[in-house]
């Protein structure tokens, strides 16, 4: 089982309640660490995700600044991560959460740790891959990547032989 008493507390499937408000510095710090661990685990980041930090912060702002707000989910995520680290130690906590979680992401999330996985980890993975991670699989473009004007010298996608911009 992943986590302890807090992580496995049953909660409703819907978004956990939270106001439209900024996260605290501590919450941002823990969530950023979680985001960085995604790139470290799949070895698909060249700058420890620092180069996409502004994208991630804009994502967090979009998720907490308007309804439905994710502040309740992010607050829950911080508490879950803290308990996971307390129980498993830092390295093992993130390994379990990302690779050995045993959580079915297609099933309704009914515990606090399932909420962490579905509403936070899974979405962070999508942000991380879309903004940087896909490049480590030879891609030049990916859904959600804003590469700049297509009229640059460098093509915006891998192109067929002899095809320039």
């Amino acid at each position: 089982m992943l986590g302890g008493e807090y992580c496995n507390t049953e909660v409703p499937v819907d978004l956990l309640p939270g106001d439209i408000q900024q996260l605290t510095a501590h919450e941002m710090e823990v969530l950023w660490r979680l985001f960085q661990e995604i790139g470290r685990t799949w070895k698909d980041t060249r700058t420890d995700s620092i180069n996409i930090g502004s994208d991630w912060r804009e994502f967090i702002q979009a998720k907490t600044g308007v309804a439905p707000s994710y502040t309740g989910e992010y607050s829950n995520a911080v508490s879950c991560v803290s308990e996971l680290i307390l129980i498993h130690g830092e390295k093992e906590a993130f390994r379990k959460l990302l690779l050995d979680h045993g959580i079915d992401s297609k099933a309704p999330p009914l515990t606090r740790v399932a909420h962490l996985k579905v509403y936070v980890v899974n979405e962070f993975i999508r942000v991380q891959v879309a903004k940087e991670g896909f490049k480590s699989w030879k891609g030049s473009n990916y859904k959600g990547f804003l590469g700049g004007s297509r009229f640059n010298r460098k093509p915006r996608a891998r192109v067929a032989k002899g095809q320039g911009v």
């Binding site: 308007v66 990302l98 959600g144 297509r150 067929a160």
Partner: protein, 521 residues
């Protein structure tokens, strides 16, 4: 019912209404115009909505599609209403792909050439200057050297390049004598190819909503008004020739209005336009406006959508689709000869393949080494095609049972393909399969098929014709027998073509705008 007065009332807010309104306002910035949209307004370029699309694959307007169980398919051929149109401010341009292909000259002469379908009362040559204007307006990125159709002006922007994954299909095309082409696609210069074209974060693809918002934000257009959540219930006639008003509900207040206008233009698509004419009965029009000869809603034409998918067991190049639109197409089988043989097809490579959803594998908890194996494993490619259609009198759209959540009557589709259709489809699928086999891919027979029929590109339900017996509207899109009721929609196409209809509708909208600016009837 409160009365309001305008010079023009438009019903619908998609490419047709926004383009005609823009053309009128360019001629007379003070023209008084009311645009009525039944659906809601969903914010465009909203950052939260865009992020939710990226991470959850959830479009903010998903609730504006037809829902399962809402409409009725009563013909022998199953008709799908899924994802076919968007009922919201901006209409289906909110989700369109921006594919902008001109019809070919023979598409305007289907009956003369084949004895089936109908001829257009206008020719390709008549529409050609409007095609040029439409391409500039929509900002079409195309290949001037293509040679598929005669053109008097170059495309406004160069084409998108073929992607790496197009390469092996291009080789197969060349081997089989199929000429490869670059898909002309509407994207403004600011496009950043973000792969989220169904909800662009920077407004880099034309939509009726953005076009109308631009008109509204121009301080000179003081008499332009756009209302969303305002379904139209009926069009009223003051005499046989004079159409005087439309009745609409402002769903946000619950109040009903009667908007009077010198000219009324119905731009409500191929489903709603005929239904609205059918229900607009009066002592002058017992069967509904324009329906004295019982042809409103008939002659449904819609592309047959053919696919052949192949698979191979290795993908060492680690290809996945990087644009959200296809770049490779061919019109080699979109010819008069194929038209005479029963149906032209327009070939294009599936915009979603090859593809590996890397993030989904990571979400499952798959370690890097395993993800690499999947990425380098099975690769699929798919060739797709639209086939042209000639409407049958017996195929009809009409008013269904009950109303939908936007206050529009539900839709009944009575659609049956003729018996010879299956053999024709099989011949076309065989042509497509040769391409996939030439790529050295294996084809599972279940992946060589026709998709369930739908109305994504439905046309002809209020078709143009030279006489009231032959068509609902004349060559200027005026409803036969009236002085001031126009229809501007795919519904007026006498027949469809093998290619997407929106560029042609835009050209027709610009032409109608010029006609109205010149005084109309």
């Amino acid at each position: 019912m409160k009365r309001r007065d305008f010079e023009y009332v438009f019903i619908g807010s998609g490419v047709a209404a926004s383009t005609v309104a823009k053309t009128i306002l360019e001629n007379n910035r003070l023209a008084s115009i009311l645009i009525l949209e039944a659906g809601p307004k969903v914010p465009a370029q909203d950052r939260r909505a865009w992020w939710d699309y990226v991470v959850l694959d959830r479009r903010p307007y998903d609730y504006c599609y037809d829902k399962k169980g809402e409409n009725q398919s009563v013909g022998k051929t199953e008709w799908s209403f899924d994802d076919g149109r968007v009922m919201m401010y901006g209409g289906s341009t909110v989700h369109w792909g921006g594919w902008c292909l001109r019809f070919k000259p023979e598409d305007f002469q289907v009956f003369s050439r084949t004895g089936t379908g109908a001829d257009w009362p206008i020719s390709y040559e008549t529409l050609e200057p409007y095609y040029c204007r439409a391409e500039e307006y929509l900002s079409v990125c195309g290949d001037d050297k293509e040679g598929w159709t005669k053109r008097s002006k170059p495309y406004p922007l160069p084409p998108f390049p073929w992607t790496a994954a197009d390469g092996e299909m291009i080789a197969a095309f060349n081997q089989l004598g199929i000429k490869p082409g670059k898909l002309p696609i509407a994207r403004f210069r600011k496009c950043m190819t973000t792969g989220t074209c169904k909800y662009c974060p920077v407004g880099a693809r034309f939509s009726g909503q953005i076009a109308l918002e631009n008109l509204l934000s121009d301080g000179r257009h003081t008499n332009l008004e756009v209302l969303h959540n305002a379904p139209v219930a009926k069009i009223n006639a003051a005499s046989k020739r004079r159409i005087e008003s439309v009745e609409y509900l402002d769903a946000r207040t619950g109040e009903r209005y009667e908007a009077h206008a010198k000219n009324i233009v119905v731009c409500a698509g191929s489903y709603e336009t005929p239904k609205l004419l059918q229900v607009s009965k009066s002592m002058y029009y017992e069967k509904g406006i324009g329906n004295d000869h019982d042809i409103v809603g008939r002659y449904i034409s819609s592309h047959a959508f053919l696919i052949v998918r192949g698979e191979r067991d290795h993908n060492e190049e680690e290809w996945f689709q990087e644009f959200d639109f296809p770049t490779l197409m061919s019109r080699t089988y979109d010819t008069p000869e194929m038209q005479q043989d029963g149906g032209k097809i327009f070939l294009f490579k599936d915009r979603t393949r090859p593809n590996v959803d890397i993030a989904a594998l990571m979400i499952q908890g798959m370690p890097r080494e395993e993800v690499d194996k999947v990425v380098r494993g099975t690769r699929t490619q798919e060739l797709q095609a639209f086939m042209d259609d000639r409407g049958l009198f017996t195929n009809r759209v009409s008013v269904g049972r009950g109303q939908n959540r936007f206050g529009l009557p539900q839709t009944q589709i009575d659609f049956t393909r003729p018996p010879e259709f299956r053999a024709l489809i099989d011949r076309r699928l065989d042509l497509m399969e040769k391409v996939i086999l030439a790529m050295d891919y294996k084809v599972d027979p279940k992946n060589k098929r026709i998709r369930t029929q739908s109305g994504h590109h439905m046309t002809s339900t209020c078709r143009m014709g030279k006489s009231p017996e032959d068509g609902v509207v004349d060559e200027n899109l005026l409803v036969h027998g009236t002085d001031n009721l126009y229809v501007c929609s795919n519904a007026v196409f006498p027949t469809g073509s093998a290619v997407n209809p929106t560029l042609t509708l835009t050209a027709m909208s610009l032409r109608l705008g010029d006609h109205l600016n010149a005084g109309g009837t």
